[in-house]
Amino acid sequence: MRFKILFFLIFLFQSSFCFSEPWKFSTPSQDFEIEFVPKIIEGNFYIPLREILDKFSAEVLWHNKEKKLEFYVFKKRVIIQIENKNFLIDGKEKILTFPPVILEGEIFISLKSLSEILGFKYYVDMKNRFIKFITLINEIEIAKGKNVQINISLTLPARYRIEKLQSPERIVIDIQDSILDVEKKIYEIEEGAIKILRVSQYSTIPYITRLVIDLDVPLNFKIFSKENRITIEFNKQIKEVTYEISEETVKIKIEGTSSLIFIPREYREPWRLVFDFPECLLGIKEKEIKIEKGIVKGVRMSQFQIEPDIARIVIDLQARSCCKIYPEDKEILIEISWFTPSLNKKVVVIDPGHGGRQNGAISPSGVIEKEVNLEIAKNLYELLTSEGAFVIMTRTEDKEVTLEDRVSIANLNRADIFVSIHNNALPSNPAIRGTETYYHTPFSKSLAAAIQKRLTEEIKLPDRGIKVAGFVVIKKTNMPAVLVEVAYLTNPEDENLLKDTEFKKKTALGIFKGIKEYFENEQIIPSE
């Protein structure tokens, strides 16, 4: 019965027959009328090809000499020749049932032949002068890269309707005027909260294909169609959050479906750590984990925002914590312990800027930045170790260390803080002098503020404030990290001070006091 509707049979008409009123066309994506009237030749239904191709926004090229028409439509490149049954599609030769013809100066092609070229089904309603095209769904592909993508290939572009349904959680997509032409009906995606894709021919009058995506939790997604392909895309997900407790340390593991990017923040009153994950979905059912052991009260998770998608994890604390973060491929390990108000056993990485061939800035009278930085760093090393801190220097002599190596030294040693020591320069404005401290993530702001405050108190140079910058040593390090610019080599007064051994000792003392304050004093500036 279905085939009778699909493959319209035209009864015997004599040679050619003209219709006078405009004919209506309906494709799965658009409805239109055509000016040229379809013709019936030897019982076959012919339509004006160029007009149809125009409606499909095809690129068309007519080769007059060879009577060939070349066109590019729905990602297919086709060459047909008038009165020739052979045609080329994407370089392959195929055969038409009826060859295209020229009538009254126009190219006409039989509906059957056009359906053979583009691969669709159709039916003709003679009474209402109406032709309907029905697309085939000929490929469904699941791509699991950074994001999950479901790609649906059709022979003609089609409109779709989306519905989000609950209990169980699922997304239903109905593709209009389409016939499902794939063998496989069930696709096990199993990526985070995305479970299974099921496809079926939902109805035949009218033809509707239904796609159902089963989910564990509601997930935001994007759907877009480009020509004859529909794509459904989900961002990466946080798929599991687990914890373990060893002695006084709580370890929280956040697992993603692919590598996670995160922005950590620390807040007080009450103390808590907030992790934002941009371009990320929360694929977890349980939105709360109660821990109530050690310092951690619990973990809360939410889809903080959609479009752009941001997942948020909040770790509620009993008191101020000492937090170390270890990002590893698809997971992030967060180690949280009680904040101890002393430098004892704290791991501090000191990074004397430049070295070796990299002189850093050079003052007009020849003071070399790398040497000043190293001397201050060595003084700071003494002060920190005398209070029980475990200090690692990225260099202890005049040698070249790459910026990546400086970052790795801090990350691999799981440092509590990273302090890079530099001196500033602005040759075009020698009047500028003073102290600045740079940081990158909001997580590092309180350390920058403490060091800047204590250092300017100690050396009494103009306080030029704490600033945000993307220098790689403070950007790629996983712990609170700062870059201190003590003074300007290009300012004569600052330059003189930097020649003075006592000044460099004072500088180290100022930075030391700042670090100490960061670890001791709860009156830190709250992040943001």
Partner: protein, 165 residues
């Protein structure tokens, strides 16, 4: 008498065609250059007129190297001897090939922020430039001396925080 009138007309035509020529070939367009404020804490937009035409981005960069007028109270951001070896625009990214002088300062956060942000902010004022790819003598390098990543094209957004509000 006729000769004198003829001569006057000729001179008049000469002068007017000179002005027309200048207007067409030496047309100047208003652009914004970014320099440091007097205290060198922020970057400030500095309006100037630059010769228009195909080399507009290059002319703009050369004006940036030249620096602001003395009485402007603004501070130049680039080394005076810096040379632009070439400048190409592709897919809204300006590929600017600088002489080694771009990195000869060796260090200093304030200087480096001034160098990178003044170039990116100034060029992305143009409608057909969305980002800047830095090249040093034809080569891509990973970092500037202080650690600013320049391996990929830099977009305007990250540097807007340095503009004085």
């Amino acid at each position: 008498m006729k000769k004198i009138i003829f001569l006057i007309i000729l001179i008049f035509l000469g002068i007017s065609s000179f002005f027309i020529f200048r207007k067409i070939y030496l047309r100047e367009v208003p652009v914004k250059l970014y320099f440091y404020s007097e205290d060198s804490r922020y970057l400030v937009a500095y309006p100037v007129k630059v010769k228009a035409g195909k080399n507009l981005p290059l002319n703009i960069l050369n004006s940036l190297i030249k620096g602001p007028e003395k009485n402007s109270n603004l501070v130049p951001t680039l080394p005076k001897n810096l040379k632009i070896l070439s400048l190409k625009i592709k897919d809204k990214i300006a590929y600017v090939n600088f002489s080694k002088d771009l990195i000869s300062y060796g260090g200093g956060a304030t200087y480096e922020i001034g160098v990178v942000s003044s170039i990116v902010l100034t060029l992305t004022e143009l409608e057909d430039i969305e980002g800047v790819q830095f090249l040093i003598e034809g080569e891509k390098i990973k970092y500037l001396p202080e650690g600013t990543e320049i391996f990929s094209p830099l977009k305007r957004k990250i540097f807007e925080k340095y503009i004085k509000k």
